[in-house]
């Protein structure tokens, strides 16, 4: 993808664009100037320095703060298939990596080729907090600015925390290992924390007293020390109310900070989350709209003439009371899912965004649902995916909004983001321009 725009000019200026700010305000016919990856000036009357290459937006382009994906496995090495894992002789005492305990892994050390880097930029993301794909303790979370090639994806800050989930050990029936159940994962987690505590104590003692037996150094346990010392948060991917309750229980036992990722049912624990200051990097991978409801909505959009014709032609569809009752409950459950983020926002919980396994091709459909049925406005959405997420990740000093002094990460759309068929033409990530031109 060869850019028309030279990357070698000292500074850049994009003028005559509509800027959609993270707080919901818009500035029309505005200008952004950036240099060395930092925004130098922004506004209607921003002065364009002599050494800035000018690009004219023609008053038709829309600029949004670069969206931040709060928790993603982009660039992560793929996981081996169950059948490829060798059977263990002692499944009850597996090596750490077979249990899914791999907190020592850093995405920055493992990044691989991933075509989704570019794909996600094409929908407005410039920044992502990445972690390596895995199981109960897959690794550490680090923030990156995005680029098409994984070689150019650059570390902004890290580690932001450790990643965790209730996923059981890989291997399935034949090559499985402990822990293979939810309760096993919880017990294993505790034991790893206890073992790390003991090791840390031993290392500390040994440093003061080299004549005592030396500790068995262990990369895995040592990567847990920040969690043991409560100096780093645990980014925990959970959805159900019950799972959230379980991670809160673990939090009570060990005291570290928690960030909930995905959190589809988090609204049910909103008060508790607020009380504990636990933010949610919400997922939007909702269940599809019930088919019958989608049809019903299509009906409503048709004009009367069509409806009459259809009524004559079609058979009377009788729904039993049982099915009607079923549909009511189904719809209520679906609406609860899609209004999750709104409810969290309304109760004062800090809510950001994470893709959490969402397939990119589904992103715009889910966003449409959020706006139509989820009670969110475009402003809410922009704030959610930029400033809010930056706050939660601790990147808000440099990212999350378009202001002087902040990082130059933003997307240039050919029309307002929520309009049909809006496309990202250019993505500016850490000041570097990536051109898509509607491809």
């Amino acid at each position: 993808m060869q850019g028309v725009f030279a990357q070698t000019t000292p500074a850049h200026a994009l003028k005559n664009v509509t800027i959609h700010h993270a707080d919901g305000s818009t500035t029309e016919s505005a200008t952004i100037v950036w240099r060395n990856g930092v925004i130098e000036a922004i506004g209607i009357n921003a002065a364009i320095p002599f050494d800035a290459f000018e690009i004219d937006g023609g008053d038709s382009l829309h600029v949004y703060p670069g969206f931040i994906d709060g928790f993603s496995t982009l660039g992560s090495p793929s996981l081996p298939k169950s059948q490829d894992l060798p059977k263990l002789d002692d499944p009850g005492n597996p090596p750490y990596y077979r249990s899914g305990v791999q907190p020592e892994r850093k995405p920055s050390e493992l990044l691989t080729e991933d075509k989704n880097f570019e794909a996600i930029m094409k929908v407005g993301f410039t920044t992502a907090a990445l972690y390596p794909d895995g199981y109960m303790l897959p690794g550490q979370v680090e923030a990156f600015y995005l680029s098409s090639s994984h070689n150019n994806v650059g570390l902004i800050k890290g580690p932001l925390g450790l990643a965790g989930s209730f996923d059981t050990a890989p291997g399935g029936w034949s090559s499985g290992a402990y822990p293979s159940t939810l309760m096993g994962v919880m017990a294993k987690f505790r034991q790893v924390m206890f073992d790390a505590t003991a090791l840390q104590q031993h290392i500390k003692y040994y440093e003061q007293n080299p004549e005592m037996p030396a500790p068995d150094r262990d990369r895995v346990l040592e990567a847990m020390f920040p969690l043991v010392n409560n100096s780093t948060p645990l980014f925990f991917e959970v959805d159900s109310k019950e799972h959230i309750e379980r991670i809160l229980k673990i939090q009570d036992e060990f005291g570290f900070n928690v960030v909930i990722v995905s959190g589809k049912e988090a609204y049910a624990k909103a008060d508790e989350l607020k009380r504990r200051n636990i933010p949610v990097l919400a997922g939007i991978d909702f269940t599809d709209m019930p088919k019958w409801y989608a049809e019903m909505k299509k009906e409503e959009e048709k004009d009367e003439a069509e409806v009459e014709q259809e009524e004559e032609a079609a058979e009377e569809e009788e729904i039993s009371e049982e099915e009607q009752n079923y549909r009511e409950k189904q719809l209520e459950a679906w609406k609860a899912e899609v209004t999750n983020i709104k409810k969290l926002m309304d109760s004062g919980v800090s809510v950001g965004f994470s893709s959490a396994g969402l397939e990119l091709k589904d992103l715009s459909a889910k966003i449409e649902i959020l706006l139509d049925e989820g009670g969110l406005t475009e402003t809410d959405l922009v704030t959610l995916m930029s400033a809010n997420t930056a706050n939660i990740l601790g990147l808000n000093r440099t990212h999350g909004s378009l202001e002087r002094g902040k990082n130059a990460s933003f997307s240039v759309f050919d029309k307002a983001m929520t309009e049909e068929k809006a496309k990202v033409l250019h993505s500016i990530s850490n000041g570097i321009i990536h051109e898509f031109n509607g491809n």
């Binding site: 007293n209 269940t287 009752n325």
Partner: protein, 466 residues
């Protein structure tokens, strides 16, 4: 096209209606089966704030307390099932022969609709157990069937801690045959128990020594610090068992393995344990009684495995006649709903009296779970866990009409909606096959072995329904 639905959602059922409350109710003029004090005719039971306050004739209804006219009906304590897997998220952490550190407390699904079905069958408390894949399995959790509350609120407050052991075919097949890990034989099973107990005692010694030395070193700041001994969850639990803080419930069948465990427990000073299933317990009733061991058995399941081939439906009666505290359990979601009739079978198979049979699904399981001071009979001061039946509970023609837990009505036959789901999956349509549950019927042998694949292979074809 007919408007199929209005967008105003009119939902009949709201979870807040069943919030965990201690309720009050006056049940009037019933035949009250107290279990411990005979059957009292034309008697009232007054429950205030979850506790049975008074049992007597013509009691006054306090202001604001709902009354239930139970003339001609029977009131019995809620049924207690000492062996259930009804609402476990997982049942078996089957990767290691000893997994004392895991607990069903962390495997509770409060949204399982089977909880409501069990209430409809007159059950109010279940012992949610780990499965029988391991010699020493996970800890159990005693739950009250408060349908609609959170997992935490389902817990039977301050119930005794329990843990699952398993002997015989299940652990030897899962670990010995399945993974090549001891035990493969009944000899191995004994040594797994002893070996782990011994390791646990060693751990305790070392851990306590470390903690003491650490405290000293940290205080004084000089000398040589101790090498840290990490806290070990598994050994901590094993020590709790040895110290009597955890009631053991041991899945077992053969008489000789029952004797083996009693021998082992006597060596380690473990006193409170119940043999579960124990199809051959009748052969060693004397020894069980002498050791104060208890049993929790099926009424009539047998012959589905070799270790139950030589068993008898008269098991419960023999045990009862020889002074063993025995209960009848289900280990099965369907039997849980008909435990009253399982108890009735005990009257047929042997010389057990009706009241003794009723004890086996009320007071005796309560004793085995360490909650008999609070439930298991209708006595003043006990919890208001009672069921109103339209006939004698052991008759096949009787139905449970109302089920109260802590004085709160959780089931009412007169107001029993069809769809009692709490957890709705919006992605499933009405006639979607994924709505269809795994049918549990009488023949779902040994539910204890869920989450382990090894036994499924043999059972696959022998009892295909379709």
């Amino acid at each position: 096209m007919t408007k199929l639905i209005t967008l105003c959602l009119i939902l009949a059922f709201s979870t807040t209606a069943y919030a965990q409350e201690k309720g009050s109710v006056l049940i009037q003029n019933a035949t009250v089966i107290t279990v411990t004090n005979g059957d009292l005719e034309e008697t009232d039971v007054l429950i205030r704030d979850g506790v049975i306050r008074e049992i007597g004739k013509d009691l006054n209804a306090p202001r604001g307390v709902e009354t239930v006219d139970a003339t001609g009906k029977f009131v019995m304590p809620g049924i207690i099932d000492a062996h259930s897997h009804l609402n476990g998220v997982d049942i078996n952490e089957a990767r290691n022969p000893v997994t004392a550190e895991v607990t069903m407390e962390e495997s509770v699904d409060p949204n399982e609709v089977g909880i409501y079905h069990a209430l409809a069958g007159g059950a109010t408390t279940i012992h949610l157990m780990h499965g029988s894949a391991n010699v020493i399995g996970g800890q159990g959790e005693t739950l009250k069937l408060r349908y609609g509350v959170s997992q935490e609120e389902m817990k039977f407050e301050n119930a005794k801690r329990t843990i699952k052991f398993a002997l015989g075919e299940n652990p030897t097949r899962v670990h010995g045959q399945g993974n090549g890990v001891q035990p493969r034989t009944r000899m191995g099973v004994e040594q797994v128990v002893r070996g782990h107990f011994d390791e646990a005692l060693d751990y305790k010694r070392k851990r306590e020594a470390y903690l003491e030395a650490k405290a000293q070193y940290d205080r004084r700041g000089r000398g040589t610090p101790p090498v840290p001994v990490a806290e070990n969850l598994r050994y901590e639990v094993l020590n709790d068992i040895i110290e009597g803080e955890i009631f053991v419930h041991c899945h077992s069948y053969r008489a000789d393995e029952i004797l083996m465990l009693m021998r082992v427990f006597n060596d380690y000073g473990i006193e409170n344990y119940t043999f579960q299933h124990a199809n051959e317990a009748f052969k060693v009733a004397n020894e069980l009684a002498k050791n104060g061991a208890m049993t929790s058995v099926f009424s009539d399941w047998w012959a589905y495995k070799f270790e139950v081939y030589y068993s008898t439906a008269y098991n419960a009666s023999i045990l009862n006649a020889n002074g063993v505290v025995n209960s009848i359990n289900s280990d099965n979601d369907q039997l849980l709903r008909t435990l009253n009739h399982e108890a009735a079978k005990v009257v047929r198979y042997g010389d057990t009296s009706v009241n003794d049979a009723i004890k086996m699904i009320t007071l005796h399981p309560a004793i085995q779970l360490g909650i008999d001071d609070r439930v298991g009979s209708i006595e003043e001061g006990k919890h208001g866990d009672v069921v109103v039946w339209d006939g004698h509970p052991l008759s096949i023609y009787s139905k449970a009409e109302m089920t109260f837990v802590d004085g709160t009505k959780y089931f009412d036959l007169a107001n029993d909606p069809d769809d009692m789901r709490i957890q709705i999956n919006p992605g499933t349509d009405f006639d979607d096959g994924s709505n269809f549950r795994k049918i549990v019927d009488n023949r779902d042998e040994d539910a204890c072995i869920q989450d382990t694949f090894i036994l499924l292979q043999d059972q696959a074809q022998t009892h295909a329904h379709n």
